[in-house]
Symmetry: C2
Subunit: 140 residues, 2 copies
């Protein structure tokens, strides 16, 4: 269970003023563990009448300080998730369902790649997402 004062702390620590809108957006992320986009948050906060421009601005600022991580699902809009533990995703190319996974031998790969590269010697981040068909969509 996430308490409101935890969320307020996240904002404070990152130098943000505490506003109802920011708390509401953070709360959406702490409820839904899957990557979500601006539109999703907008609909979830329909009652609160949060402007979608504010959501875009908030997402960007949260990403800048590292509260959120941009996830590349190869969909047509930008998806974000709380940047807690390092993980990746499997995305169903039929229904869009997303599942996370932890396995990631990226350090090993990065070493090999950098040894063979003559243009790079620093890797700062990586994308690694799997795409496939979920069990429901396979039997369709």
């Amino acid at each position: 269970m996430v308490h409101n004062h935890d969320l307020e702390n996240i904002l404070k620590i990152n130098g943000f003023k505490i506003t109802p809108t920011r708390l509401a957006i953070l709360k959406v992320f702490s409820h839904d563990c899957e990557p979500i986009n601006a539109e999703f948050i907008f609909k979830k906060l329909k009652k609160e009448k949060v402007n979608i421009v504010t959501i875009y601005r908030t997402l960007t600022s949260f990403e800048n300080v590292g509260i959120l991580k941009h996830v590349d699902l190869q969909k047509d809009s930008a998806y974000y998730e709380l940047s807690g533990h390092h993980h990746h995703h499997i995305i169903c190319t039929d229904c869009g369902m997303v599942e996370g996974f932890e396995v990631c031998d990226i350090d090993n790969l990065t070493d090999k790649v950098l040894k063979n590269s003559n243009k790079f010697n620093i890797i700062t981040k990586h994308s690694l997402e799997l795409f496939g068909l979920c069990k429901k969509c396979v039997i369709k």
Copy 2:
């Protein structure tokens, strides 16, 4: 060296009619081995006065039949490359420079992931791109 009749063959094999525009676009891809976007092709074919809408349509249809592969460089437009041999990219987050690499232990990873997944059992494709700073941008 790529001959014109090779390009014509690619079109024929994939059920396309042979048109100057399609040949020109294919030629751009066979010259530039890095992933490119619609705008890049548009500029390269300035003299031929190819409409950018046609370029978008061609890119989509080439991707559909597998001539081209969409590459996710986390830039603001769609990049494509000839879908020849399997490889991935390192992208400089400062200057945008792209270098390819072949190392890819994805089968191993896929096996591990599917063993732990209860929602998926088929993986059809994957994204794997590294982001970092190229040697030029490091010393800036």
